[in-house]
């Protein structure tokens, strides 16, 4: 009843998309452009499974097409019974047996213990609290919304959440792990390629789930050690008059009730630690690239950029005031 050309046309479309897929795997947040041991294994697993899936798909649909359109005459019952046994039992047992053997042997690798550095990440609504615990240290180096990893080392992540369930995921480095309130989960990652990668909360966590991203920077181990040393220091003192005015505004507006800036009296723990906020690549958990303008826009009305954000708006500040405040924060590198 239908013309015969349609099914092959569908298949052509399939191949078109597959080739497009191959061309479009890169991206800062791509699982197919791996930059670490864990993600590489999973990408390989994926490509092998895709190849197998294409073969099986063509076989199943090819047989259906053959029996309904090409060879519609009645055929042997005995062969038909063998088809049920072969296709329904022998084939899946073989294929799945092999797949499970491989798939499950790589499972424990993702839970290996780390080489020393542990990073504790806590999901907040909608940002990430980050604490670096270098081996042997008993106080953490506190940061937020950005992660740095030493390349070639296995870093252990201890994950938890403050209110609702989130999920920690940096696709280029490895698989994801959920973060629960009142419970700790663990994940270990061994990034290999220095560079910048983007991650994003994967478990729906409320109004601004879409705006809960995290930047990950993989650095050569020496550079990482140097950076961590800087990160552990207290905040820079404001250098310019504008920045000094901004610091005064920070005090006046009571920002310290929620935010901490080490080396100042501000020790709030409700919002992200701002000690080195200006040194981060992005603002508000990946919402905007870090800049003075971005900081201004955020301070005036956070929930325009991130609906439901818990930080109050400061619409009463003049443009000049927000500029000063932003200059101060941008200087905290």
């Amino acid at each position: 009843m239908t013309d015969r050309g349609n099914l092959p046309r569908g298949r052509a479309a399939f191949w078109l998309v597959v080739s497009l897929a191959l061309a479009a795997c890169d991206g800062d947040q791509s699982a197919l452009d791996p930059a670490g041991e864990d993600a590489s294994v999973l990408a390989l697993l994926f490509w092998v499974m895709v190849a197998g899936a294409v073969v099986l798909f063509l076989m199943m649909n090819g047989l259906f097409f053959y029996f309904t359109r090409v060879k519609v005459r009645s055929q042997s019952r005995a062969v038909a019974r063998w088809l049920i046994v072969g296709g329904g039992i022998v084939l899946p047992v073989t294929v799945l047996g092999a797949l499970l053997t491989w798939g499950l042997t790589i499972l424990p690798d993702h839970r290996q213990a780390g080489d020393g550095l542990r990073i504790r990440v806590t999901g907040e609504q909608w940002w990430w609290r980050v604490e670096y615990w270098p081996e042997g240290s008993d106080t953490p180096i506190v940061s937020a919304n950005e992660l740095r990893f030493p390349a070639g080392r296995r870093t252990e992540l201890i994950l938890s959440s403050a209110h609702v369930i989130h999920s920690f995921w940096i696709p280029a480095l490895g698989g994801k792990m959920d973060m629960f309130p009142g419970r700790e989960t663990r994940l270990s990652l061994r990034p290999t390629e220095p560079g910048r990668y983007r991650g994003q909360c994967a478990e729906f966590c409320g109004t601004s789930h879409a705006w809960m991203a995290i930047e990950a920077q993989v650095m050569p181990p020496e550079a990482f050690a140097a950076w961590l040393g800087t990160e552990a220091r207290s905040a820079n003192l404001p250098a310019t008059a504008a920045a000094q005015a901004g610091m005064a505004l920070f005090n006046r507006e009571g920002c310290g009730a929620c935010h901490a800036i080490r080396g100042t009296p501000h020790v709030g723990r409700v919002g992200p630690d701002l000690t080195h906020v200006g040194g981060r690549a992005t603002l508000a958990a990946g919402r905007l690239p870090m800049s003075i303008e971005a900081l201004q826009a955020w301070i005036v009305q956070p929930d325009r950029l991130k609906p439901g954000a818990l930080m109050p708006a400061y619409p009463h500040l003049t443009r000049a005031e927000t500029l000063q405040l932003a200059t101060y924060l941008r200087g905290l590198e």
Binding site: F14, C25, N61, L63, I84, G88, I89, P171, F180
Partner: protein, 851 residues
């Protein structure tokens, strides 16, 4: 065995001679007239008091279709919002409501009810029955579905819809402000109860309402699937209902089941939800396989190859589907051993699924295939479903799931399985069965248009999503930044979504356009072999003219004289001599006739009961507890009136002529009666829900270092012991009442019933006193103990109502030593209640002191 069988051998199976005997013309005309008037559908506004499954099934199908279209429109808005990055077409909050409702409505208001709707409509015809055993229960289920569905869906119009995703993970959903979560919990629980009612109806229908001679191995495959899926609903929905109860207790009364600061655990919800949620996927998928199993032999013009393979595989899928739920929780940090086990189990389900698909292939291979519109849709279904199945195989490998879990890869996968495993086969079924539903044909030209639009639109929309997910796009984001490589993919998906919508527009237009001037369809347009094609054209409401004697799987192919004999009223129940609706009840395995079942006719009582039940669920969403309680009492009253006036009434004559020389009883109690089976099946579901709550207790024990917490107050030991003894005494007295009543000692039976009610009351009171001093808001331990006590308490009160109902029956002559079906059913209820009371008392009274 019935009493009848003890006295004389049944003239069954009927002899060829008896079957060949002609029915006189004038008798036949009189029979037709009587049947027609007994089954006449009510006229005018009274039409809505109809209860028979051909009417209720039609409303059910159309309502589910309407809900699907609403959920589809939501999907289009979602796709529009995602067409370009940083779009501000709708707000984040609105988007979250939309995707939550899209998923919830498609699952709870379309996929499951559509199966029940189609089955309600088809099953009596497939089994050669006049109607199912509990027409008013079907009508009640339908009205609950309509009221609940409209309530839940309309919340989106008032901007108060649930917005935590269709699996409502706490603490996000428990902490959500506004009535959204309550609407989801109470509205959908209400619908789940209706779904359970329909499942009971369908299971009993398959077991007890088959045409004489239709042994289980001759049943149409569709009936087997109904049995499997009904059983799955029965065991899958109760854990969710139990979860809903805990969830709503936390929301309304602050009992901290999922609050980690007071010992609760959000993971318990995930377990309960997915113990429901994964079988749910197969509950949606298997009925479509069932439709395919009906279409394939017809287009191949051969009986199905591998009937028993298919049946065993369907049962196998049903069992396995309960052991896979953890694959929705691979990224929650469970031990590697669990992940490995559930990975393997998830892959194992490929085997029975594969057997079913290959059996269809084998049938097509041995047959001579005629291409038709239903087969075109099946072809599309196979292409889409195999792709979804293959990505499912990938996802079941836990490490791979770590990457793509909660991304657009999952969105693509689940739509491939649901379109391929539900939408396409159901539409194939619509084209195939439409001549049965409407006695007209659908347009082949529009059908091809609809197919190619939906098929190409679907692939355009969802195939790119696999890549979108691998490129890192999480699901449930209301928008996204540019520069991540997602723009073109999302725009393509949006275009695809609108092509699907265009296809549905064509399909729905063809389905609903006026057909007054169209000619009648041929009686058996596809030359199928199963009994539904013995339907009458033009339509008759009596189901079948006479109930055939079936000896083959494809009676219309293999019993050449069957159709003519059915039409001439040569088979069973060709008449309605009392002017009442009746059907045959047969034995479970080999379908020997055992009973002539009087069926209930049109009535408003199901609608009234559904309205009050609805009030009982809907008022609490707005914190209006007193009106809810009032509605609950009125609903209970309506149901009692319904039962009292229409069920298990002693018949006027003990036996009746069923045709072909067969005389059958008209009243049965115990396993011969359909009511007994319905109670049995319902109580299995009820016991499953109760077990889920007990599972919660032991879950907290395993998940926490110290449970019960040190120094916690326990339920009072003495009071718990008194409760256990009193409830067991009450059960023993019910059993005694049934025995003595049977032995004609009516006075003693009545005394036993009164005493049993008093014992039950004492038990309930003792249980309440045992947990009275506990503060369920303080910690999860007292909360779960109180919930267990509450569950038993409510059931005991129900049990007391039943005891008093039997007593009233005995006093008014409804319940006599011979007519004791009510007492038999109540005994069955109390058997379950006695067991669960003992379990409950052990868990709250003994376990905490040992743990």
């Amino acid at each position: 065995m019935t009493e009848h069988e003890n006295r004389s051998p049944l003239p069954f199976p009927p002899s060829e001679q008896a079957l060949a005997e002609p029915v006189p013309e004038d008798l036949r005309a009189a029979q037709v007239a009587r049947l027609r008037s007994a089954w006449a559908r009510p006229k005018g506004w009274r039409y809505w008091s109809s209860v028979n499954s051909s009417q209720v099934g039609k409303w059910y199908c159309l309502t589910a279709l309407f809900f699907m279209l609403c959920a589809g429109v939501m999907a289009l808005i979602i796709r529009l919002q995602l067409a370009v990055p940083e779009n501000d077409l709708i707000s984040a909050d609105r988007f979250n409501q939309l995707f939550t409702m899209h998923g919830s409505a498609m699952m709870f208001l379309f996929a499951v009810p559509m199966f029940e709707a189609i089955s309600l409509f088809l099953l009596p015809a497939l089994l050669g029955a006049r109607d199912m055993s509990f027409p008013r229960l079907s009508a009640f289920g339908y009205w609950c579905f309509l009221i609940g569905g409209v309530f839940v869906l309309s919340s989106i119009l008032f901007d108060v819809a649930p917005r935590a995703g269709w699996f409502m993970y706490p603490p996000l959903a428990t902490q959500d402000e506004g009535p959204g979560s309550d609407i989801w919990l109470l509205g959908l629980s209400f619908i789940e109860i209706a779904s359970l009612a329909a499942a009971v109806e369908l299971i009993v229908g398959v077991l007890k309402c088959r045409a004489p001679g239709m042994r289980v191995n001759l049943m149409p495959l569709y009936a087997w699937y109904v049995l499997v899926v009904g059983g799955m609903i029965l065991f899958a929905f109760p854990p969710l209902i139990a979860g809903d109860l805990l969830f709503e207790l936390e929301r309304s009364l602050d009992w901290p089941f999922f609050d980690p600061t007071r010992g609760g655990d959000p993971m318990l919800w995930q377990h309960l939800f997915w113990i429901f949620g994964h079988p749910e996927v197969y509950i949606v998928f298997l009925p479509s396989i069932a439709i395919t199993a009906m279409v394939i032999p017809t287009v191949a013009r051969r009986p199905i190859v591998g009937y028993s393979w298919i049946v065993l595989s369907a049962v196998g899928v049903g069992f396995l589907s309960f052991g896979l739920w953890v694959h929705h929780m691979f990224t929650t940090g469970l031990p590697s051993l669990s992940l490995g086990f559930f990975s393997a189990a998830s892959e194992a389900v490929v085997i029975p699924t594969g057997i079913q698909l290959f059996a269809f292939l084998a049938t097509l291979m041995v047959g001579r295939v005629t291409m038709s519109l239903p087969l075109l849709w099946i072809t599309g279904a196979l292409a889409v479903f195999t792709l979804g199945g293959l990505t499912g195989v990938m996802l079941a490998i836990a490490p791979f799931d770590f990457q793509v879990h909660d991304t657009y890869f999952i969105v693509a996968h689940l739509h491939y399985t649901l379109f391929g495993g539900m939408i396409f086969p159901v539409i194939a079924g619509v084209y195939y069965f439409f001549p049965f539903f409407r006695k007209r044909m659908l347009s082949p030209r529009l059908g091809r248009w609809a197919f190619w639009l939906i098929f190409s639109g679907f692939n355009l929309c969802f195939l790119p999503m696999h890549l979108t997910g691998l490129l890192g796009m999480p699901r449930r984001v209301y928008t996204y930044s540019s520069g991540l490589g997602w723009e073109a993919l999302n725009l393509t998906s949006t275009v695809g979504a609108f092509v699907i919508a265009a296809g549905f527009a064509v399909f729905v237009w063809d389905l609903l356009r006026p057909r007054r001037n169209q000619p009648d369809a041929p009686r058996n347009p596809w030359n199928a072999g199963t009994l539904e094609w013995a339907h009458d054209i033009p339509v008759e409401d009596w189901g079948v003219r006479s109930i055939p004697y079936v000896t083959s799987r494809y009676p219309l192919w293999q019993q050449p004289k069957l159709l003519q004999r059915m039409d001439q009223g040569r088979y069973y129940l060709p008449d309605s001599d009392e002017g009442a609706r009746e059907t045959l009840v047969t034995s479970v395995i080999d379908a020997k006739p055992v009973l002539i079942q009087r069926l209930t006719g049109p009535s408003w009582i199901p609608l009234v009961a559904a309205i009050f039940t609805g009030g009982c669920f809907i008022f609490p969403t707005f914190g209006l507890y007193w009106p809810a309680i009032l509605c609950g009492l009125l609903a209970g009253g309506a149901i009692l009136i319904w039962l009292w006036t229409a069920t298990a009434r002693p018949p006027r004559q003990a036996e009746k002529d069923a045709g072909l020389g067969l005389s059958l009883p008209t009243y049965a109690s115990g396993p011969d009666s359909v009511g007994w089976w319905a109670i049995w099946i319902t109580m299995l579901g009820d016991a499953t829900a109760f077990s889920s709550i007990l599972f919660g207790f032991f879950f907290y024990w395993t998940a926490q270092a110290q449970f019960p917490p040190p120094g916690a107050a326990h339920a009072d030991g003495v009071a718990v012991a008194v409760a256990a003894l009193a409830l067991i005494a009450s059960w023993a007295l019910v059993v005694l009442a049934r025995r003595t009543n049977r032995l004609q000692r009516v006075g003693r039976a009545r005394a036993a019933l009164i005493t049993s009610t008093l014992c039950a009351g004492t038990g309930a009171l003792a249980l309440a006193l045992a947990v009275w001093p506990l503060d369920p808001t303080a910690h999860v331990y007292p909360a779960i103990v109180c919930t267990i006590a509450l569950w038993i308490g409510v059931h005991t009160v129900l049990g007391m109502v039943m005891q008093l109902y039997c007593l009233a029956g005995s006093l008014t002559g409804k319940l006599t030593p011979h007519h004791d079906a009510d007492l038999g059913n109540v005994t069955l209820f109390w058997n379950f209640l006695a067991l669960s009371s003992l379990a409950a008392c052990a868990v709250i009274g003994i376990a905490p002191r040992l743990l």
